[in-house]
Amino acid sequence: MTYMKKPNVRHPGLRKNELGLTRRDYEGLVSTLCAGCGHDSISAAIIEACFELDLPAHRLAKLSGIGCSSKTPTYFLNRSHGFNSVHGRMPSIATGANLANRDLIYLGVSGDGDTASIGLGQFCHAMRRRVNMIYIVENNGTYGLTKGQFSATSDRVSKSKKGEANLFEAIDLCTLAIHLGAGFVARGFSGDKNHLVPLIKAAFRYNGFAFIDIVSPCVTFNDHEDSTKSYDYVRAHNEAMDRLDLVPEREEITAQAEEGQTTTVRMHDGSLMRLHKLDDSYDPRDSESALTTLRKRYAKGQVVTGLLHIDDQDTDLHKLLGTTSQPLNAVPMSELCPGNAELAKINKGFR
């Protein structure tokens, strides 16, 4: 970490987005994480994605649990809403917030400990319920904040910094997400922003539960030779399945995509996502083939990255429950709380 704050001065040539903001306007406080932590790169990728999408910061809510990863929302989008919840409980907070105000964009940021250990149940139910949110796991295969214990995503072959063996099989969060009905499932690597930023942008545009598992080396406790979540290991074993392009609604589509290699998905806001596949052995719209690919590649020791699965049925929790189309804070009090007489009527119905 640094003790000095990042000066406000900025490059006069910095590009501005549609809102007249620069990338710097999407920053937060200076990070207190260890220098070189992958999580910081993910924060930078989120900043870049929000800037490029022209997102108004006040329309976004950041939610997190506990962990180094869960601390990061402080380091980006300091003009957005935020809730730093209890360890592993971010999904319930997100579900509640989303039910109360469906108009905000919900960005959940969690760690592999926060999600795959203590929060696993919560995570599963948020996906089942198809909460409309972006859920990012900053996956370093360790409990960084509590000084480097194995997490549930540590690979069986991975060793701790001190050389202890890992006794348990890893939980693959992407596989789990596809099983439980997450409509957008992707994996990225913090060390490859060119690939990561488009994934995050696409997730923002997706209506439903969008999950991104981002491999994010912990430089302090899990970046050694026997780790499978180190910079070197991931770089050597990274298999990008595709490259994403997000074509905003307002832009004309010019280049004609080559058939076969490119899948075009129309997002619910009208923008187009173009997926250039680098591997045609699977179809991201077919969950079965995605699961097979993941399993096979994992067995070979490969770290598969890219948009692994997308389901373009436009559904989320509000649709399933048939809730009001307005955020609750916009529903008149008389409707929100129709009074004792109405309550008595309802109670009567249960008698």
């Binding site: 640094t2 000095m4 490059h11 910095l14 924060s43 060390g191 910079y231 070197d232 298999e239």
Partner: protein, 614 residues
Amino acid sequence: MSSVDVAVKTRNSMRATDITDPNYFHKVVDCQWACPTHTPVPEYIRLVAQGRYTDAYMLNWESNVFPGILGRTCDRPCEPACRRGRLEDKPVAICRLKRVAADYRGDVSGLLPKIPKKKNGKRIALLGAGPASLTVARDLMPLGYSCVLFEKDPRGGGLMRTNIPSFRLPEKVINEEVDMILDMGVEARFGHEVTSLKSILDEGFDGVFVGTGAPRGKDLNIPGREEAAKNIHIGIDWLTSVAFEHVKKIGKRVVVIGGGNTAMDCCRSAIRLGGKDVRVTVRSPRADMKASDWEIEDAEREGIPIFDNHQPSEFIVENGKLAGVKFARMSAEYDKDGRRKLIPTGEELIFECDDVLMAIGQDNAFPWIERDIGLEFGEWDMPVVDKTTMMSTRAGVFFGGDAGWGPENIIWAVAHGHQAAISIDLYCSGQSLTASRPAPGISLVSQKMGLHEWSYANDYSEDSRVAVPHVATKKSLKNLKVEVELGYDVKLALEEAERCLNCDVQTVFVRNLCIECDACVDICPVDCINFTANGEEQDLRQSLRVPAVNEEQDLYISDQLKTGRIMAKDEDLCLHCGLCAERCPTGAWDMQKFTYVERQANPAGQVNCMAYIS
């Protein structure tokens, strides 16, 4: 396969930067690079910030010889070059911080170079006692040379004494800094006008330096010039008469003709010597005026109006006496190459006045140099002089300052003096004037003190440039000798010093330590750092996080990294804040102080500079 764009090494890809080339990091220190004598600016600003005024003074004195004078009057090419000026901010007040060093310094007499009692037997003639000649004397005296100074005026200093008015530069400051040199034992022949170079050469000197300046003020031959001669004054001659107190007053209505710094000094002197209605007139549009912005500002603050696009066409004479100046109004037109043409609008007008001060430029004049002594003259009747060695076509005769290259400024005169002294010393010892010139002294040293501790103040100051306090205009207009600027006090100086970015503390990148985690890219406040595919310089410049459009500033390029990419840093706006180095988990970035010392004839006279590079 990773999706990272793997660099394709083409023949035209950029090569890794060679940071051992002394010029590479020197160029990053914009102020020092721009300074003709390459004064270590950030170093002396840090010394000022630490309250080490004497050390700051000596570092300056060794480099530029006249810190007290220059701290008030320098043309300051360093300031337009200052990196802060490119950050939507004003440059650091480099010049006025130099004055602080001079104002608050202690006694330096014990710190000056010792003059050997036993001379080396070589005698050098120095013609003219301006800053150029004085610099040559300063550099050669400690080596044991005997210097003989010929000056037509009664005192030394050249135009610094005779033309720069005392409300900008008090006489005391000139005396101190000129005497430091004369007191080294220079044999000064004041009141001695040289009328023949041949006769000087005949005296058998081992070397001759011509530092006689550009002493002839330009005239304007329009109708009425002769009839009104009594009240038409050549600016530089008039300023000299004022300096030597031969002139003590001027008429109530004064028209100054010209838009350079001399015009500013003339009008401001006139208003102090009884002028009530003093006007400056320029033929060109205001934006094209030659005077420095700050000099124009100062004149206007004193209530002097500037009339641009006014071309004088006639001196109006009534009863055999000057009555006014007639002007044609001009308008500037630019052709497609941007060349300016002044076209009369047809409108004419007359400014009534009692006196005219003519400040339209200076010429060189060498009527006293014989044309048959092997000393060639070239274009505009200027001597042919070698740009590096300062030697003319006659061996052993050197030129510098305004005499060598036309009217310029003090700091260039000093720079020429240093180079000429090196040449004279080499010449007198029979060495090559080119091959034997000394190389600059450089060093590069880590500033790391602890985990996040550096030996310099790396935090960025968001303060704006601190204004220099002035005496009340009312008071200064009453007396020519009252210095207008009061200078910074210690507190203001500290505030201003903190604005310096320490551009000499360089970001040094060690490729094989980098794990490409991007931490430095993300923390850099001004988006300097990139990890990208290599390419041709132009493509690369365009492809950076913020395109590197300022081509005067280099890209710092590394060899290929593990992913096949390179690190490319645009030096243009780097704040030298060290955040990249603080963020880097592996120490691939380090902040290292780059020192650069321009060598002089007498390295023993550069004690403070040597301490600074070691």
